[in-house]
């Protein structure tokens, strides 16, 4: 049975000098069975802590135009060039809902095992900020489009890829909402520059229950969500371009006691930083509390350079969002095969069943199929899906070679992938095509070259000079000698050489 958390605390726990005391061991057992969560240790001898992590994820919807207006959605365009009168919140403008955004949210809800609300509502969430020209954001606070789902993800135990455990985090809800514009702070001139290109872009906010307990779990869950969104096409989910943003709510408490005060951590720009930020914040809270301090219910920003969280300005004090129904938008009604009225205009219909039937294979299904079809290990399937285009490359090589997939996978994951990583290349940019790779592996399979020679050929192919594997083998005389007489002659020459010394 795997402990709830594969993270640092479990390992530190197990490596503790002399092992855990009988008292703490008992405590740990109780905590684990109660929540299935990790029981990390702070200062030795003190009561253990249970970290609680809940994620709020904003995924930018992949669509041509914005959620409530017809201006274009595009990363990096001249400032304020993708802004309509509505996005700039000019008086007299009204929101008009984009159908594609609704479909994206339904797809995502279905993929995350949610109940889709056939009737959902829009609300206004009020707060003042320069990048929110209307003074409110249109969101779905009361009745969102999807609720009560789950996301399954996998973790490696003990840092080895060979042992994986599947965990689940509950999805509280998914809601449609507007993105805000972007503020650029000019501290020197004491001003903020505002670009509204992003204002009004459609977002899906995925709210998770606080079922996670450490940075590693958070990272794994978000990575899987990212893969799902990319597979669905509902979001391209590239964190570096702000298409996937994660805020972490972190608190710690002693087993059996009520949840502690939580802090919100923002400004996390990659999955790697997410794990660091969460782990840092857990550690910070534990240290603060063990030193007799208290945790403030505040918003903190992750500083990636320093690897720590710091209190965030402009977020002091509790916000009062004064939620109210959005008066300009009637309820959003979705249909399924049963509820669909006969004479509806198709353009006005979003049919949940129609969307469900057309969902692509999710990552977990793709992995299972790869394992079944090619006889590779589960961790291999994870590695294949983790790298864009690698599965396709692998399958193309398998199609073109007699070498068994179980052997091919080693060449793809251990040799090709490490080359790509070393040179920071994507699969698409690989100088070695699947065709060339298959050619090479065929030579190896037919025993025309040795494994060592194959690696040498690959090194040559990597230069991208356009030569085929066979040409390189001939050039460098890497062929395995099959002729018995020739082999005898060489061995004899070596022996003779030794005798002469």
């Amino acid at each position: 049975a795997a402990w709830g958390c594969g993270g640092v605390w479990c390992r530190a726990w197990q490596r503790g000098a002399g092992g855990p005391s009988p008292f703490l061991r008992g405590q740990r057992a109780a905590a684990s069975s109660a929540r299935g969560g990790a029981v990390p240790v702070g200062k030795s001898g003190l009561a253990p802590w249970v970290p609680v992590v809940g994620l709020e994820i904003h995924a930018q919807i992949s669509s041509n135009s914005k959620l409530f207006s017809g201006s274009q959605v595009q990363f990096a365009a001249p400032p304020n060039s993708l802004v309509s009168f509505f996005d700039a919140s000019l008086p007299g403008t009204l929101p008009v809902l984009n159908r594609r955004c609704v479909e994206a949210a339904v797809m995502t809800g279905l993929a995350l095992n949610c109940s889709i609300n056939k009737k959902s509502l829009f609300d206004r969430k009020h707060y003042f900020y320069a990048d929110l020209p209307a003074g409110y954001q249109i969101t779905q606070q009361r009745v969102p489009i999807a609720v009560n789902g789950s996301l399954s993800y996998s973790l490696c135990i003990d840092n080895k890829m060979s042992q994986m455990v599947t965990k689940t985090v509950r999805i509280k809800q998914i809601q449609l909402e507007q993105d805000s514009g972007k503020s650029l702070h000019d501290d020197r001139r004491s001003q903020t520059l505002v670009d509204l290109n992003r204002a009004g872009v459609g977002l899906m906010e995925v709210v998770m229950e606080p079922d996670l307990c450490c940075g590693e779990e958070a990272a794994a869950a978000v990575r899987e969500l990212q893969l799902i969104l990319q597979t669905l096409g509902s979001s391209q989910a590239v964190m570096a371009e702000g298409q996937l943003r994660v805020d972490a709510n972190v608190s710690v408490h002693h087993p059996g006691e009520p949840y502690g005060v939580r802090t919100e951590v923002k400004n996390i720009n990659s999955i790697r930083f997410l794990a660091k930020a969460v782990d840092y914040e857990i550690q910070r809270q534990i240290e603060e509390l063990e030193n007799g301090g208290t945790i403030l219910n505040e918003t903190r920003a992750f500083d990636s350079k320093l690897g720590c969280t710091v209190p965030m300005r402009d977020k002091e004090g509790k916000q009062d969002y004064r939620f109210m129904p959005e008066p300009n938008l009637p309820p959003l009604i979705l249909y399924d095969a049963k509820s669909l009225p006969a004479n509806m205009n198709h353009q006005q219909v979003v049919n949940i069943d129609w969307i469900h039937e057309r969902l692509p294979d999710l990552p977990s299904v793709k992995r299972a199929k790869l394992v079944e079809q090619y006889g590779i290990l589960p961790e291999h399937s994870f590695a294949l899906l983790n790298e864009d285009g690698l599965t396709e490359f692998f399958e193309n090589v398998v199609k073109q070679t007699q070498m068994k997939p179980k052997k091919v996978i080693g060449w793809i994951l251990n040799v090709l992938l490490s080359y790509l990583k070393q040179h920071s290349l994507t699969v698409k940019e690989s100088p070695v095509s699947s065709f060339m790779m298959a050619d090479l592996l065929n030579l190896l399979e037919k025993k025309e070259i040795s494994s060592t020679a194959a690696k040498q050929v690959l090194a040559e192919l990597w230069k991208g000079e356009g030569k085929s594997p066979l040409e390189i083998v001939k050039e460098k005389k890497l062929e395995l000698i099959q002729d018995q007489k020739e082999l005898e002659r060489i061995c004899q020459a070596v022996i003779d050489g030794q005798e002469n010394e």
Binding site: G70, P78, P79, H185, Q191, V194, L196, D314, P331
Partner: protein, 108 residues
């Protein structure tokens, strides 16, 4: 029934209104009293209504790019701009606490 000072202070901070004088606060009290008349209606078993549009369903637009590309026009409204960016003060400046600011409520 007068409105509590804490509530008035909260409103001034959030909504950035300034009640300015006793007359302003009294106007608020009268407005609340006027709205409170709604409580006289028996709404037992009646679903709350958000808007008169509640029986309609929202119109769905096709995902086409039909707007935008009017930075010049939009920036005409800007009091200050820097290279096609709107200029705003450096972040929110919260109102000082009740004790520290000059508001009519101070005297209450």
């Amino acid at each position: 029934q007068p409105v509590a000072v804490e509530v008035l202070d909260h409103l001034e901070q959030l909504a950035l209104v300034d009640f300015r004088d006793a007359e302003g606060v009294e106007r608020l009290r009268k407005a609340i009293q006027f709205a409170d008349q709604l409580h006289e209606v028996n709404t037992d078993g009646v679903e709350p209504m958000d808007s008169v549009l509640e029986d309609r369903c929202v119109y769905l637009r096709e995902d086409d790019v039909t707007e935008g590309n009017c930075a010049n026009e939009l920036l005409k409204n800007a009091r200050e701009k820097v290279e096609e960016y709107f200029v705003a003060p450096p972040g929110n400046i919260p109102l000082p606490k009740l004790e520290e600011r000059e508001t009519f409520l101070q005297g209450s």
